[in-house]
């Protein structure tokens, strides 16, 4: 009944399928990271490789982690930069 009223006023509630999909997406982000302990290390190495093309970074103090609040997951990276490289990749 309540849903019917909402529908009449044009406020359709999110279908439960979409809620399920969203909850599943969130839970899998964490599950998939935890499946392999090396995941973060591999990601870190790849990031270092790419970023090093543009700048010199302090690899030892670099921190990469996943944080989450209720509705989203974020990859947070704290990467101290020692020096920018000059002229390697200037835009044309």
């Amino acid at each position: 009944m309540f849903e019917l009223i909402l529908k009449l006023f044009g406020k359709e509630p999110a279908s439960s399928k979409d809620i399920a999909k969203e909850r599943l997406r969130l839970v899998l982000v964490h599950d998939r990271v935890n499946v392999s302990p090396q995941f973060m290390e591999v990601l870190k190495d790849d990031m270092i490789r790419v970023i090093s093309n543009y700048m010199e970074i302090n690899e030892k103090e670099m921190e990469v982690s996943l944080t989450n609040n209720k509705s989203s997951v974020a990859l947070v990276a704290n990467i101290p930069v020692n020096r920018m490289k000059r002229g390697v990749y200037t835009q044309e």
Binding site: K21, V27, D31, V35
Partner: protein
């Protein structure tokens, strides 16, 4: 050399045993020589679902421990010429067998049978490791629920780390009406999230309950919708290209007439 297929899911109660029974019987209906292996040691059920529970003499652990020969433990299904069951032990636990023994067993069975179908226990512990050890390929069963899909994802990861890549997915207990209303995840959603190939979909079907009550796999029933779905899956497993069944919601002629009179 036959093919060894493990039916797994992670989560319990999604239909692994029913799927194993129906796929196996489906192969037998095609004339393939097939053996079903119940790897759920301590909680055997495949025998009951198959209606062969009163014919067990020896079990899988008897074979691995050398109490009997493999042939003595195999139960031939009298209804289907080419269908056999290797039951699990009921009074032992998962640690009574190790992956090496399972590999050996699967190898031996694959020499005599076209298909060896292994019913994997729920969970990701020893029983799971035993069940997948000798498998050439894996079939994952899930239902359109967050918990079941989540566990399927975990299983896919674990299979990959064991070198069993490219598993195929069966989505069980789809309710077309609920999907249409937006109250159940549809196949595309699930496939998109899990990123695996779809082997087939099984619509919710009351006949599965009836056939399980009787101990006769549903796949042999000519009118059950789940039976058709399982037959399609079996044909796909043999390499045939069978299109997915369309999930009709009850909008046929009679359903419409009914609706008119009801309102």
């Amino acid at each position: 050399m036959g093919e060894v297929i493990v039916v797994t899911s992670g989560k319990g109660g999604v239909g692994k045993t029913t799927t194993t029974a129906n796929i196996g019987t489906g192969f037998a209906l095609l004339g393939k020589k097939v053996v079903l292996v119940d790897a759920d040691i301590g909680l055997r059920n495949l025998d009951v679902v198959m209606g062969l529970d009163n014919r067990i003499v020896y079990d899988l652990v008897d074979v691995t421990e050398g109490n009997c020969r493999l042939k003595q433990a195999l139960i031939r299904d009298k209804r289907y010429e080419t269908l056999y069951l290797l039951p699990a032990a009921q009074t032992r636990d998962k640690n009574a067998v190790n992956p090496e023994q399972m590999k050996e067993l699967c190898k031996e069975l694959a020499q005599d049978f076209d298909y060896v179908i292994i019913d994997c226990p729920a969970g990701i512990e020893q029983g799971f490791k035993n069940a997948i050890a000798g498998a050439d390929r894996a079939v994952i069963v899930t239902t359109p629920e967050v918990s079941a899909v989540r566990d399927a994802d975990r299983i896919i990861g674990l299979l990959e780390s064991e070198g069993k890549s490219n598993p195929k997915l069966i989505v069980n207990r789809i309710r077309p009406k609920m999907v249409k209303k937006g109250d159940m995840m549809d196949i595309d959603d699930i496939i998109d999230i899990l990123a695996v190939d779809l082997l087939g979909i099984i619509p919710e079907d009351e006949y599965i309950v009836i056939s399980t009550n009787r101990g006769e796999p549903a796949v042999a029933n000519p009118v059950s919708i789940a039976s058709t779905a399982y037959k399609n899956i079996v044909r796909r497993l043999t390499g045939e290209n069978v299109p997915l069944m369309t999930l009709e919601t009850d909008d046929g002629f009679f359903a419409r007439i009914k609706k008119i009179f009801r309102f």
